[in-house]
């Protein structure tokens, strides 16, 4: 019987294999891209669900790449938070791959799309699963470079402009991250995260941790589009093809930005009151400014992009509270946001597919002609606005309760205000796009093809059932396990070294 830790490298190896296989056969065989994209993401989703069970059975697992024992070799670590993020990313990726089967018909080279898609997925899974600092930077760059190319996929004026802006800002962010890693390496003489945490704890952080924290908050904050660093997101996300917008807003900014930031701040450097207040302020700023900028938008996808900034603010606020309930709420909201925001972007893609427009003023009454899109986007809008009993309500409620419990009444108040404004903004979307009187020119509009309907319905179902994650065994095995991984703080090092065995 193979040791359970052998599933760990598959999360990177599988999508990489798919990404390199596709250019070989994709040009000649017409059905190969759809099939490869679907099958590989399905396999990854199944594996990620298995990984939750594996972590439950065995605790934290460590895989040594090339059989070099950490801290000399590269380690890949599978703990509660990792498996939680893997499920989020791969679940959304599979559904989006299904959606793309029909949607990407209008672009010429499908195999290029799926190849880049799998490459991006490999990068994201790599960032999540690695336990090595420089490895993290490499995977960060794999995912980012693939995403620049995907934003520019349409190669029209706007796509190129947005991709250039995104690429420049994101490259600078990566370099800040690399600089932070250099400082940490020169101070601790190790690249292994667990070892680094031990050395930092033994030596005492001092000034170097302040410097490094600033660099990481800047670098990963840019990747996550927190407010002072958000300028690229409202251009880049709407310009990409709809499945990629869903992927970028749904999971990329979370796995590259939020996850990496939290992992380093909590488990390597160690959380302190100062870092906590930085995260709280950044989170609240994103939450409020994002939603204010969103209200005035008339471009469907641009409006959604601003809401991404706002919702990321909730996640950071929850995690920044650094209380068990706050972290649980933040992570739960991270999962929920990736589901409903992907769904909303897929809805906007479906509308664009059928009508060819993204302007809310031009739409109207589309729910009559496109019942599935109308219904699923209603569910997603209510989720994001925090209407019970959909999943967004529960996670926002937990975050607000956690803020009140921690005595941060001001932040709780802002969270409520931002939630009300979100509701207002999505009432506008529903009214103008789906529920107004049907305009004459949309008489011939048809509902989207079957795979797109399937994908949207699946995500809508998760939105409705999302609240169940807070109940019973699912909560303890899935959510709490992830929150515990952050809460254990710098004890992470001891746990990882025990995992190596």
């Amino acid at each position: 019987m193979m040791p359970a830790s052998n599933i760990i490298p598959l999360f990177v190896a599988l999508p990489l294999a798919g990404a390199f296989l596709l250019p070989l056969i994709g040009k000649k065989v017409k059905w190969a891209p759809d099939l490869t994209g679907g099958v590989f993401t399905l396999a990854l989703m199944a594996l990620s669900l298995v990984s939750v069970w594996v972590v439950n059975q065995n605790g934290t697992l460590v895989y040594s790449v090339g059989a070099w024992k950490p801290p000399i070799g590269i380690a890949m670590v599978l703990d509660g938070l990792t498996s939680f993020m893997l499920v989020t990313v791969n679940l959304v990726a599979f559904i989006i791959a299904v959606f793309s089967i029909n949607y990407m018909e209008k672009y010429t080279s499908k195999w290029k799309f799926y190849s880049l898609f799998l490459l991006m997925l490999a990068g994201m899974n790599g960032v999540i699963i690695t336990g090595d600092m420089f490895n993290l930077f490499v995977f960060l760059e794999i995912a980012s470079v693939a995403s620049y190319a995907l934003v520019a996929f349409g190669t029209e004026k706007h796509e190129l402009e947005a991709a250039f802006k995104y690429a420049i800002m994101s490259t600078v962010a990566s370099l800040f991250v690399l600089l932070g890693i250099v400082f940490l390496y020169s101070y601790t003489s190790t690249l292994n995260m667990a070892d680094m945490a031990q050395v930092l704890a033994a030596k005492g952080g001092g000034d170097i941790t302040v410097m490094v924290t600033v660099l990481f908050v800047m670098g990963f904050g840019l990747k996550a589009a927190l407010v002072p660093f958000h300028a690229w997101l409202p251009d880049a996300h709407p310009s990409a093809p709809a499945p990629i917008s869903a992927m970028l807003s749904g999971v990329l900014i979370k796995s590259l930005g939020i996850y990496a930031l939290c992992r380093i701040l909590y488990n390597v450097i160690g959380m302190s009151a100062e870092i906590s207040s930085i995260l709280l302020v950044l989170g609240t700023l994103s939450m409020v400014i994002g939603v204010f900028l969103a209200i005035g938008q008339w471009d469907f996808k641009r409006l959604l992009a601003y809401h991404s900034i706002s919702q990321i603010g909730y996640v950071v606020l929850g995690i920044g509270l650094a209380t068990p309930l706050g972290i649980l709420g933040g992570l739960f909201h991270l999962f929920n946001h990736s589901v409903f925001k992907s769904l909303l972007f897929l809805n906007s893609g479906a509308v664009e597919y059928s009508t060819g427009t993204r302007d809310l003023k031009e739409m109207g009454g589309l729910a009559e002609k496109m019942p599935v899109t109308g219904a699923t986007s209603l569910i997603a809008s209510m989720s994001i606005a925090g209407v019970p009993p959909f999943n967004g309500f529960w996670s926002k409620l937990i975050i607000i309760i956690a803020a009140v419990q921690a005595g941060r009444y001001g932040y709780a108040l802002w969270a409520v205000i931002a939630s009300v404004l979100t509701l207002a903004s999505f009432m506008k979307v529903m009214k103008y796009a789906f529920f107004d009187r049907l305009k004459k020119k949309w008489d011939q509009v048809k509902e989207v093809p079957v795979f797109m309907k399937l994908a949207m319905s699946a995500l809508a179902l998760i939105c409705v059932l999302g609240g169940l994650l807070l109940v019973g065994a699912v909560k303890t095995d899935f959510l709490s396990q992830a929150a515990d991984a952050l809460l254990e703080g710098t004890k992470y090092a001891a746990i990882v070294f025990k995992g190596i065995g």
Binding site: E141, T155, E161, A162, K165, V172, L179, V182, P234, S239
Partner: protein, 112 residues
Amino acid sequence: MSIYFLCLVLFVIGIYCIVRKRNVIKMIIGVIILEYAVNLFFILAGYRVNGRAPIFSSGEEIKNMVDPLPQALVLTSIVIGLATTALLVGIAMRIYEKYGTFDITKIRELKG
């Protein structure tokens, strides 16, 4: 010490180039300079005065050697930088085809 300072100067030049220059190509050059500043700093982090290459051979005791790990890592980082630069230049070429200019103030159809 002055070499670290020069490294910082290179870094600042890179940032300045990206923030202030209006030409797309010059911005890309700024990114490259920034990349090299960080790479150089990484090499410097593993450097020792009068250090030698860390190659072991029998009958010889090495007392003062430079850290080889940053050099290996910087190689990786240079390759990554190459990929990024190639993509950026590719996008810049397409931008020139569509807009007919490299001036960033004229490439402004998005509001963000």
